[in-house]
Symmetry: C2
């Protein structure tokens, strides 16, 4: 028997080996005719020390129904390629300078190079996906494609919300559903289909991933303002510093006293946000019950995620999926 962390490391390794072979065949810099200005940033984006959580979820979802891992590897690689496409393009839009401790593509090269490398990553994702041998390939392509569009919608909504104080918790949840959870939904459903799950099971797997994704994002919002920098690996309060409307902000504006709302709005209107502003926002989030609401929401989504797995029926091996929830949600541990 393999311990959960080792099992996870095994999946990560499978994905990395497959991705390396894929890149060597499809984007070999040894070839004189291929433009280095395209494939160097593509490889750089795919290197980093990515956790490969999403492709691992594809493999686990397939394995849960007894499917062979080998069958799901091209789809898993496609997910990781598309994930990195969104990171490269989002980093441009968010003006982020670093990612996984390295300069972002548009900082190491320039915006145009990152733009084009992201475009190539999408095409390469489809190249990998189309290597999938399955009678369900058409359906898998549809889930993949609809999902990419949903993720674009999520990113657009996220950007719209930056200048919109009227965002309700419901609309916020719709945004993070698309921006964060949908890629996980794609992973779980594609894996389940490749494992020959039935339609009800594919549905349950989608809802499982939805709850995991929402819990993940809300916890991300929470950690940003509650955990010390050393532990999280990013700046404390970076969301507030960047005027980001998070779950906490939306909750505080919805449920806080008028005075707390006004104080929070005032902080977010400042062009430059100081450390003291972040601490004030933290206090407001605490006093308005936004922190507690976030903790509740995480707990609730996790419980729902587990319930979805239970509904899959007795023949399905859900242990790894339950371990994955644990692994994702205890990043701070």
């Amino acid at each position: 028997m393999v311990a959960p962390h080792n099992k996870f490391a095994e999946y990560k390794n499978l994905v990395n080996v497959h991705l390396e072979n894929f890149l060597d065949r499809h984007a070999s810099l040894v070839s004189a005719t291929l433009p280095r200005s395209l494939y160097e940033p593509v490889r750089y984006a795919m290197e980093g020390n990515g956790k490969r959580i999403r492709p691992a979820l594809v493999l686990m979802s397939c394995a849960a129904f007894g499917g062979a891992l080998q069958k799901a590897l091209p789809a898993a690689a496609a997910i990781e390629l598309v994930h990195n496409f969104t990171l490269v393009h989002d980093d441009i839009m968010d003006h982020d300078d670093t990612r996984r401790g390295r300069p972002t593509v548009h900082r190491k090269w320039d915006t145009d190079t990152a733009l084009l490398a992201g475009d190539a990553l999408v095409a390469m994702a489809y190249q990998s996906l189309l290597q999938t041998e399955s009678p369900h390939l058409n359906r898998i392509c549809q889930i993949f494609t609809d999902g990419i569009l949903k993720i674009c919608e999520g990113q657009a909504l996220d950007r719209e919300f930056e200048h919109d104080d009227s965002v309700t918790p419901t609309r916020y949840e719709d945004m993070i559903l698309k921006k964060t959870a949908w890629l996980l939904i794609m992973c779980a459903q594609m894996g389940a289909i490749l494992g020959e799950a039935n339609s009800a099971q594919i549905e349950h797997m989608g809802r499982f991933a939805e709850h995991v994704g929402l819990a993940f994002q809300i916890q991300d919002d929470l950690l940003d303002i509650t955990i010390a920098q050393e532990i999280l690996g990013k700046d404390f309060g970076s969301d507030v510093r960047r005027h980001k409307r998070t779950f906490l902000y939306v909750q505080a504006l919805q449920h806080g006293e008028k005075s707390a709302q006004a104080a929070l709005r005032e902080i977010f209107m400042k062009p430059e946000i100081a450390q003291s502003d972040i601490l004030s926002a933290q206090r407001i989030f605490s006093e308005t019950g936004a922190l507690a609401a976030a903790e509740n929401a995480v707990r609730e989504h996790l419980s729902q995620a587990h319930a979805c797995l239970t509904e899959l029926g007795p023949g399905v091996k859900t242990t790894e999926l339950r371990d994955l929830i644990h692994l994702i949600l205890h990043r701070n541990a």
Copy 2:
């Protein structure tokens, strides 16, 4: 019997109606949950007065083999969506302010909006493509996907060449093959497959489109420096003004006298290029035989394109495809 121009107008109309329905179903701005900041620029990009040459080529290629037009419409729409994706992203990289007489997406909105709208257009292109009902859908998806990556490579090479005076005519042709001709190759091959052409015919159709695409691009380079502004609808000598290494530039450096090469290099090193510089470049292109070489190359590729059509065999209706060559290549008439 329908005259060629009317036939072409009929195809354009079919494509436009199909695209409108597609956008209404998939990107309806009436829906409150869809982000306007994403779908307004998407629709704007697709409106304009595009000539719809590429989707028409898909339809014509299908019809040449007796295939039903209706069957090829989702693929034709996919091509137009992907074409506009490349335009929106290329306009960002090329800092172009106008397209088809209107502000480009990144000028009307901003770079980030255009970046994301382009991404959405790719996903929507695949959505349309996946609506194709054909036993060959997997192969069509592969041609489509490999083609998008080729186009990215072409754009990357084009950008690399901006700062590279050692580009040979062969490498230049490889670049325009990917950047300009490949989308036409995709159109011709996808249409032929949907028309149930055999493998040799699909091959011939690809080479036909390759020659049309190369002729088209070389003629584009030629017209830029030989035709008055009013006729072409863009600035006379805009390639020189933007330091663009065209077929003419590459030829002049390859075959011109040392003094002509030096004079041309000097012009292209100027940060600001005056009208007199453009006229000097034009004279150098003429004296080095670059203009004549371009005219020859266009003629040669056209003749090859016609030859490819002839090789299709007697049962194939090539009249419309020959009319299309005529239509594309007499834009200045």
